[in-house]
Amino acid sequence: MTIVYDDRDGQAASDIPVRRIKFTINGAKKVAEVEPRLLLAHLIRQGLGLTGTHMGCDTTNCGACTVLVDGRAVKSCTMLAVQADGHEIETVEGLATASELHPLQEGFKEQHGLQCGFCTPGMMMAAKALLAANPDPTEEDVRWALSGNLCRCTGYQNIVKSVLWAAEKLRPQATADGSQQ
């Protein structure tokens, strides 16, 4: 994998520090060589070509770049790519299978949870972390969990409905699995 940087510093190539890291992204094991100052969001978008993770504000405010690191929601513009070494990353591309949308994606479709769609990947990943920790959230729980993700189109109402729709859809499966044990 190659990442091309602008050379503004005029340093010799041999003076530029590079680290080799191993990580998992959406279940696939990867090795990358990165400069320590590369952000996780850049590794995902430019390095891996997974452009579903969006860069919005680039200042830790908007949450469009939210991904899961070992299951915890993280703003990938505020974590260094080298820090992914040894960890599991999940992006919006990991939600759907080849034939089926994830219930969260279905929920956003059914409940019109997006308009321009820019914030959607971050919303879905934050929601995924919420539903993993709390499969039966109240509306208040959903609003609280998504309070680090900004949307400029929807007024949030339909996003909240979408997540509750997905929770509902995911719940019977969890119960069925539980009763089989």
Partner: protein
Amino acid sequence: MYPSRFRYEAPRSLAEAIELLAGGGGEAKVLAGGQSLVPLMKLRFATPELLVDINNVGGLDYHREDPDGTLHIGALCRHADLERSALLKGKQPTMAAAAPLIADPIVRNRGTLVGSLCHADPQGDWASVVLALGGSVVARGPRGRRAIPMADFVTGPFENVLEPDEVAVEAVIPAHKNTPAGGYLKLERRVGDFATVGVAVAVETSGGTVTRAGIALTGVGGSTIAATEAQQALTGQALTPPAIERAADLAAGAARPRTDHRGSAEYKRHMVRTFVARILAQAAGPDAAGPDTAAERAA
């Protein structure tokens, strides 16, 4: 935005981290949660030559209580860990109230309390909480371990007393001797914004009398402010409406707010008074609450 170029090390032990910092020539920084440092580096406000990432150092992600009630919060204990903590909910009302108000839920997954103290932002919430509770920061360096009271830890905006080769390893909150009460209230324009005003109150009472009072203010001056006159006025008093009002007035007097896009100085000072009164009225319980609070509750 990219940070400027730096060397990166991720040691697996504190001893290694200290050695790396000592070799950093004063141009090394410790990276814990990174939720303040990484943005500062992206904006090029911070340009360390060496970043010592302590996330791989084992055994720093704790928060625990000693048998005598002293609380220890490790350098890698995240805000989210404190937000979910059963230990704090039962025993430490001021910290339990503050934890869910730090930044936003996603930032709380990575950011740390100790990192927030080190960052020394006058608008940082935890500094007020730890100051009100009379806590300290424990640092480790080549010359050993030392505990620094929070009141002496911060020397100015974004400045603390740590030597370049020292790592802050934990925050310590002393055990309460009597019944603890208090809280943290924060006015923010939206979730994740810096505090327009924040107030931390930590009192201990015995038989209805205040035996210890800690009040600290966030975002209303060039540093975190300890409202010492308000603390002194409360100590030895019952939490009666007049005592609460007097403490609230004194705390408002200690604030040094500036008019900015978040509000006028007068408004901020007023909010300090309101928040101090509100937390103390709640600490006093429904019987002692003043008429304003009772009206609010009925509304």
